[in-house]
Symmetry: C2
Subunit: 303 residues, 2 copies
Amino acid sequence: MCMTCNTLLDRLIAEEILVETGIDGLYGRSGKFEDVLLRFDALISRFGDDQKADVIRFPPGMNRALFEKSGYLKSFPDLAGTVHSFAGNDKDHASLLETLEGGGDWTAGQKATDIVLAPAACYPLYPVVARKGKLPAQGRVYDLNSYCFRREPSKDPARMQMFRMREYVRMGTPDEVMAFRQSWMDRGQELIASVGLPVAIDVANDPFFGRAGRMLSNNQRDQNLKFELLVPVTSTEKPTACLSFNYHQDHFGKTWGLTTADGEVAHTACVGFGLERVALALFAHHGLDTGSWPAGVRKVLWG
Amino acid sequence: MCMTCNTLLDRLIAEEILVETGIDGLYGRSGKFEDVLLRFDALISRFGDDQKADVIRFPPGMNRALFEKSGYLKSFPDLAGTVHSFAGNDKDHASLLETLEGGGDWTAGQKATDIVLAPAACYPLYPVVARKGKLPAQGRVYDLNSYCFRREPSKDPARMQMFRMREYVRMGTPDEVMAFRQSWMDRGQELIASVGLPVAIDVANDPFFGRAGRMLSNNQRDQNLKFELLVPVTSTEKPTACLSFNYHQDHFGKTWGLTTADGEVAHTACVGFGLERVALALFAHHGLDTGSWPAGVRKVLWG
């Protein structure tokens, strides 16, 4: 398969599997794309059925005050998206429309609301769980899926600005959460292999911002805090992180006052699935016609 | 059922069917809530199967330039949400963190991006279809579903800031789109009655902004441009619009240069389903324990 002579994005748009919106990283999904994504999402549920996880589905936005407290702005200020709105009167409205008509910047009058777009499915979760009091013995597992936003416009369809992230999040003792992460690193590879995709695991390299970010990046790598499951999507040299396996140590536990049944600061870990990325990997490897995908892959996804 | 002695929202939160985030109109959805919503969504698909609609799923955000051109800001400037981001350097980042630490307003430095939250599922659609050239003979029908945003914080759970809207959109001649709308006004009532909810249809009264809005509002009502299917959710006196039936005349056709096979300006109409609102109506009428909902309703939703 030629991955460079004609980009995957061009082919997906030509076949109307993705729909252009005029913004890099913002696409409509056809019924065909959505079907693949939802079938893969259901496959994750089958692999995670034994987790007896509590299901929560958060909307694409979260409480700004909680977002600020999470620490995200220290690491990735450039990726965050704040939601702003108009709070004026009739006169301000007339002026807004006049500015818009004249081709000026009407957004100057928009004021920040108390809502920020969620950068990952699990950010809204921790304060919600902490509010419930101590974790029960054996801790908890949550099952999440939400639309996330990251401000990184790109022609690489695997780097969307708005995308869905499925997650299982484990909260408990260090041993419990490390065992959870290891188990999902194994399952994740099995899961991806079951749909006919090549698998590699590597230490992650998050794009921490600026000079201070280099230290955070080194720390993440040196302490093996995050692993990624990589699949070639638009490049074989630079494969795409389709799943990630994160150990947060006591970061969220301390931030939110999350404690185990014994009163210790809880540790947390999560496995995240980039649903659009996996769907794109499937189209890239098996072709744009889902009807002619390998029988084994079709059986796993469509039964 | 007592709807005033203890609010529906309080009961849904106490039962963990919805999850508080600290922001009015922004809630996590439990697995139970989500299951009801998805079952109802699937029921819509069964009712709409004969439409042979093209399926597109847009993300929660859309191209700001297209949003500006749509005319939304004339009618509802206060409901729109623009997405802003940080575009500074290391020094700006240090200053942002310092402001945040000191409890100041760090959002002052956020700049508007080219993305706006979608106010309705169909707004991103029209320019996409217009780009494809003339409509085919008999026009087109689209099937949409996306997360939408409206800035109207409220304690009424049926007035969420972020919610999902399912839509069928018809594009064609005036006769075609009017017949479509009438057919969905009939189907909509049948659909809602099939899940055991009381149904009433009325002319809509959209919250157009300010003084100029009164004229738009009168025009909408006088010309019967929008009808709503109302179901009591949190109030019997002020029932909630769960479905709406909209005739846009040639507004989007003219705005986007959308033409019929004959080269006439296309007319458009849509039916919109407020998925969270219908789910809430089901909980309000049949109780919080889905297992004890009427057998007929369970059969329609779960088969």
